[in-house]
Symmetry: C2
Subunit: 195 residues, 2 copies
């Protein structure tokens, strides 16, 4: 029975995640959460505390699932051009995956900063910064391995790729096509070719 309960909780959490991801924080009402999660308000409060705490739990869940999955596929790839392509294409696929609401929950929530208190803001900013640091680490390692020239400005190229990753979530939402964004990836990756 424990396993069944755990499964249901994850399912309910993912329903909440999709609501926040689609509608934003203030755009997601308790009524919408009750309906999607199949829980009455008192059960939501008993399990998660309140809407704010539920949101923080959702953000951590998004990090542990969606983002970690993407990072792991990037981490596995030792060729830096291939790994950065995976990162960018991963973000494109995240948007165009029909099971998702589109865009990125972290990108939306960062922009809705004024709707969040200090705790959520810290959590959200740390996730974006971790992503950028992860790219810096990968590119720096590749430079040490002589996969890329010492002429590559690791800090700026990492930030440029991280900025493109978050920008993709916006451009996808603004209606740019998957193929146009995919074609752009090679251009962004060419930043690693400085010599």
């Amino acid at each position: 029975m424990a396993r069944v309960k755990e499964f249901d909780e994850v399912k309910a959490l993912e329903k909440a995640m999709h609501l926040f991801w689609n509608h934003g924080y203030d755009g997601t009402s308790l009524q919408m959460l009750e309906k999607a999660m199949g829980l009455v308000r008192s059960s939501i409060y008993n399990t998660y505390g309140n809407k704010r705490k539920l949101f923080n739990t959702v953000i951590s869940h998004y990090e542990k699932t969606v983002i970690t999955q993407l990072m792991m596929s990037v981490e596995k790839e030792s060729d830096i051009r291939k790994s950065m392509s995976k990162m960018l294409n991963g973000e494109i696929n995240l948007h165009f995956n029909k099971n998702n609401p589109g865009g990125c929950l972290i990108v939306l929530s960062v922009l809705e900063k004024a709707q969040h208190g200090d705790e959520s803001t810290k959590l959200l900013e740390s996730i974006v910064k971790k992503m950028e640091k992860f790219l810096t680490k990968k590119i720096s390692e590749a430079q040490n391995e002589e996969q890329i020239s010492t002429a590559v400005d690791v800090k700026s190229v990492s930030l440029a790729i991280a900025t493109t990753v978050v920008g993709i979530a916006v451009m996808g939402k603004a209606g740019f096509s998957k193929s146009a964004l995919q074609n752009m990836v090679a251009t962004t990756i060419s930043l690693l070719d400085a010599s």
Copy 2:
């Protein structure tokens, strides 16, 4: 008197613009609008129709002022590397200008798509697409003038720069420093150096 009235209307509209820019659409209540605009609900309805119509008026005002101003400074610059630097630095300055709420109203609103109907969505998407087309036109002209090599993939480089522009709004909101983002600009501009 007409001139005074016009001035006040623009001022009220900009107060509304800053609210939506900071809090998002659903995050901005009528009470917040009344207080910031110094108008009672009936005056807002009489002047703008309703919250949705006020939002569309605000978006058009943002395009005519904030975005047009940026485009014009970019348009005036005939050197393509300098003009694209102006575009990227303009977006950085937009975020770090202390008179603004940070980020970009269009980027936030595009991500809050689910909060908007067809009319607002069309308006928002058209603004992002116009920005990208404007970059394509500038880069294409520069290629015809032999400022950049024929090896530059105009479509992909334009989209990469446009994606970086919207991404800057996110990275600024996520707490990246002005100097780190400014240092990144030269890297993004190097996409024009393909040969």
